[in-house]
């Protein structure tokens, strides 16, 4: 068999997202990670005989909000269904989920170029700014947590019944980089709406991947393989890179791809067969008779609309246009709404909005601050940027002010005064320094006059040294040039 010039992968994602709510999906037990085992359970989430579910309004509102943010159609009437299967982490041995009438259908996730892996941000795939269609978003209940021992497993039902949103993409993704960017972009949207903390490493966002390969140009999909145990966004990329390579290698050797579920082993950097899908599960879905259909068109949708945040793409465009920040900076700010709020406060009182962005995103962020609780008031950055732009301090001094600002937060103006850092901009004083420099360095003066323009740097250095770094460098440059050409 002759191998075609190029293979392409076809990738679809199913993303489970833990919703940020006070209580579980169908009972009033608290929805919180880390409680003592089986301390956050009640007859409902333990599946005790006779208990009944009642849906959490906030979880429904947050799912609708997600749908609105991602441009989905919101079902006017949504329903819950029972998905039947036996498993010890599923107390009722059926999961309340949504099958025929999910809360949201359609919609899309736009891939933010800056949310591609760093090494791909300049690539064509990043620049393509593709939009990945969604199939649906539905709401269901999470399962319990199991711990495995030698011969037995132990179950903690605290997580059982907590609200879980499932977002299913169309098989629109073509590369591991796109899958990486999809998850990053989706996470950004979820964060902006306060829907979830969506941290994959904490299990707040979990992702199953379906992937197949086919020759470029072929319409039919290849046999798909499901990947599990993906615990970080970069893990998804690595797993896909490995698995696509494995599948291409196999088909090039003329082997058939098995329809199976494979487990990603991050340490080994490879996927391994978990189970082959001889028989499709028969989940016997049917409408949950304990719950009435949920009407979203009588207030629920309105409530969600009133909570709509400025979406990442719109926010980025505004920051770039109005504040002059770079596309990259806009993307970073849009990804972290707390940081962005901090920045917007800092930029509010100053003309130097782009400079403020540099301070906050380069220097401040490098100190790994918590902008929500930082004692460094955001206005201080506006002030600091102003001092530099207005020539009160030079950039070397500004670094000193910044360091002091972090150590003992206070107004940058006060810090400049305290440290005696104000720049010397007095022409008379500067001229005196320059005269001294010219007198002390006849060689450099001669070099400069004979055409070696770099020789002026030695004179500038002399002035800076004499002035203890306080001389305004721009003014020194002007004065020296005038004196030397006289």
């Amino acid at each position: 068999m002759s191998s075609p010039a190029k293979w392409e992968a076809v990738i679809g994602l199913e993303v489970h997202v833990q919703l940020h709510t006070q209580t579980k999906m169908f009972c009033g037990c608290i929805n919180q990670y880390g409680g003592a085992a089986n301390s956050q359970v009640c007859p409902v989430c333990l599946g005790m005989p006779g208990s009944l579910p009642v849906p959490n309004e906030e979880a429904i509102r947050k799912t609708i909000l997600t749908g609105l943010m991602l441009g989905c159609r919101i079902a006017p009437v949504a329903r819950f269904d029972r998905k039947n299967y036996f498993y010890p982490d599923m107390p009722k041995n059926y999961q309340i989920s949504q099958f025929e009438d999910p809360l949201c259908a359609g919609g899309a996730v736009g891939l933010d170029p800056f949310l591609f892996p760093k090494d791909l941000q300049e690539s064509d795939e990043a620049k393509a700014k593709r939009s990945i269609r969604l199939t649906r978003i539905h709401l269901e209940e999470d399962v319990a947590k199991s711990f495995h021992y030698e011969e037995r497993s132990g179950i903690d039902f605290n997580r059982a019944g907590t609200p879980l949103m499932e977002i299913v993409s169309e098989a629109d993704l073509r590369t591991p980089g796109e899958a990486f960017a999809f998850l990053g972009s989706l996470r950004q949207v979820l964060l902006s709406g306060g829907v979830s903390s969506a941290d994959m490493e904490k299990g707040q966002m979990r992702c199953d991947v379906n992937v197949s390969v086919r020759p470029v140009g072929q319409k039919e999909f290849g046999t798909k393989v499901e990947l599990k145990n993906l615990n970080s966004i970069s893990g998804v990329r690595r797993a896909l890179e490995y698995e696509i390579g494995r599948q291409i290698g196999a088909v090039e050797k003329g082997e058939a791809i098995q329809h199976e579920t494979r487990r990603w082993d991050d340490d080994a950097g490879a996927t391994f067969t978990m189970r082959t899908k001889e028989k499709a599960h028969d989940y016997r879905y049917f409408p949950e008779p304990d719950l009435l259909p949920v009407r979203t068109d009588q207030g629920l949708r309105k409530a969600a609309e009133s909570g709509l945040p400025e979406l990442p793409a719109a926010l980025q465009a505004r920051l770039m246009q109005e504040n002059g920040v770079t596309a990259y900076q806009a993307s970073v700010l849009a990804a972290d709404r707390v940081l962005c709020g901090y920045y917007e406060k800092a930029a509010a009182g100053t003309k130097h909005k782009a400079a403020v962005a540099n301070w906050i995103l380069n220097d401040f962020l490098a100190t790994q601050p918590d902008p929500a609780t930082s004692p460094v008031r955001p206005e201080f950055f506006g002030e600091l940027a102003g001092l530099v732009v207005e020539g009160v301090i030079n950039s070397a001094q500004a670094k000193k002010v910044f360091a002091e600002l972090m150590a003992n937060p206070a107004s940058p103006k006060a810090i400049v005064e305290k440290l005696g850092l104000a720049q010397i901009s007095d022409v008379g004083a500067l001229a005196a320094f320059c005269d001294e420099a010219i007198a002390a360095n006849p060689r450099s003066v001669e070099d400069y006059r004979s055409g070696k323009s770099n020789a002026i740097n030695a004179l500038k250095g002399f002035v800076m040294k004499k002035s203890q770094g306080k001389a305004n460098p721009t003014q020194v440059d002007e004065i020296l040039k005038a004196k030397l050409s006289a």
Partner: protein, 479 residues
């Protein structure tokens, strides 16, 4: 006379005037139980000490203060067993109160006895109990009906003043008819199902079994109303039912559905029900012939939908979190299979298999989804009938109590016993069964009055008027 023979209404009056004490009632009931329970076997569990202790503390100023009530053994009451007459719930103690139980407690009621039932309410004869059969107090060779057979036999046999039952396809009304007491299945959504172990969630309703219509109205008043724990309960405000009995049926339009008077039914039963219809007409009601054309399909629809829901509802009985667990399972699958196969009786297994099948891939459209649609038609039948009449009058059961063991090997024939009761569950309507006569061999015959959705007041008024001009309710069973 033993207080066990009195109605709830009468005891309530005597308790509040302090003429008697709750302990007197409990003691009289325990005496009756001591002599006849070994024959009738209405109960799965009786905690005499707890009942006596509760009676001592009873507050007779409350609406049901000090009244002992028997509970069907599928209602959770904190700290008590709740076996559903199944081996699979061996050792289970309820960690919470059902809303119905909590409301009775709040109204001052005390509890005496958990009543026998068909396992998980699946049956029409109480012969499907893993804890022994219950006998009909009118003839101990016959079944009491089911699935609330224990509740009906206890109330009719003067072993309880009143009891709660549950009705999924007739499980309150049919045993009430066969035991000669009053059984009310309220409109779906009237009483919270929270804490009632589910058989078929879209059909189950809790309701009272009592000696009189007034007693049923008193209990319904205490039980009815929205419960934030049950998404399917209705929001309307609490009512006191039958607070002003009219004693009249003047002007009432009574519908007789022609599909409910079948050639194969017991002639004695038919005659008694037609006699009741005649009484209504004689007392100023108009009789209207109506049609519920999809009635012949009701059994099939019911046994598809009820078993489908049950197959999921009963999945939780797996030996993991409570109840019976198989000894030394070799792995997880073995634990599931053996716990469930050893724990469930044959009728429950049969229905789980049927329900699993009608939902399974390739068959769900032909069975489950088709049945849902026909259920819609059945509901339309009732809606259109109620444009022509105020209440429907029908037999409760096509025949009086049949002999023990007669149908245990023929499930389909057993299912057909529910033909007059299941449609109201499918349509969601409320209905009552009350005695309307006796056969020559002294077996009670039941009359069913069906109302429109949330038409309980209408049902109770008419039933009360009929009951008070007859003395069927005063007759004592011989056992």
């Amino acid at each position: 006379m033993s207080l066990a023979h009195e109605t709830l209404a009468s005891l309530r009056r005597r308790l509040s005037s302090k003429e008697i004490h709750s302990r007197d009632i409990v003691k009289d009931l325990l005496t009756e139980i001591g002599t006849r329970e070994k024959t009738v076997h209405a109960f799965t569990h009786i905690d005499e000490k707890a009942a006596l202790a509760a009676a001592e503390k009873a507050d007779s100023s409350l609406p049901l203060g000090g009244i002992p009530i028997a509970l069907k053994d599928n209602l959770n009451a904190l700290g008590d067993p709740c076996t559903c007459s199944s081996k699979i719930l061996e050792g289970y103690k309820a960690p919470y109160d059902a809303t119905a139980v909590a409301r009775l407690r709040q109204a001052g009621a005390i509890f005496l006895g958990r009543t026998n039932m068909d396992e998980f309410a699946m049956g029409s004869s109480t012969e499907n109990s893993a804890l022994g059969i219950t006998r009909n107090p009118w003839d101990s060779t016959r079944i009491p009906g089911g699935s609330s057979g224990g509740s009906a036999a206890a109330v009719a046999g003067r072993l309880a003043i009143a009891a709660l039952g549950s009705d999924t396809g007739g499980s309150i009304r049919q045993p009430a008819a066969l035991c000669g007491c009053v059984g009310l299945k309220p409109t779906y959504g009237r009483i919270s199902r929270y804490g009632l172990v589910a058989f078929a969630s879209s059909l189950d309703q809790i309701g009272p079994l009592t000696r009189t219509v007034e007693d049923s109205a008193i209990l319904l008043s205490a039980l009815a109303g929205h419960d934030p724990r049950d998404n399917t309960t209705d929001l309307r405000k609490p009512e006191t039912f039958l607070s002003k009995p009219t004693g009249s049926v003047q002007g009432l339009r009574v519908g007789l559905p022609k599909e409910y008077f079948l050639p194969g039914m017991s002639p004695e039963a038919e005659a008694a029900v037609r006699g009741a219809a005649h009484w209504f007409e004689k007392n100023g009601a108009t009789l209207v012939e109506v049609s519920l054309p999809h009635t012949p399909a009701a059994i099939a629809v019911y046994y598809i939908l009820a078993t489908a829901e049950a197959s999921a509802n009963l999945a939780r009985f797996d030996g993991v979190r409570y109840g019976r667990r198989a000894v030394e399972p070799k792995d997880l699958l073995d634990l599931y299979h053996r716990s469930r196969s050893e724990g469930f009786g044959p009728e429950v297994k049969r229905r789980i298999i049927l329900g699993t099948f009608v939902l399974s891939q390739g068959y769900a459209d032909a069975y489950y989804r088709k049945a849902q649609k026909v259920r819609g038609l059945l509901r339309q039948d009732f809606e259109s009938a109620f444009t022509k009449c105020d209440l429907l009058l029908t037999p409760t059961s096509p025949e009086p109590a049949f002999p023990l063991g007669e149908r245990t090997q023929d499930p389909l024939k057993m299912y057909l016993a529910d033909v007059f009761t299941i449609s109201t569950n499918l349509a969601g309507n409320g209905a009552i069964s009350l005695p309307c006569g006796f056969t020559k061999s002294n077996l009670p015959i039941g009359l069913q009055l069906i109302g429109p959705h949330f038409g309980e007041e209408k049902i109770l008024q008419a039933a009360h008027a009929y009951e008070q001009s007859h003395d069927f309710w005063k007759r004592m069973p011989p056992v």
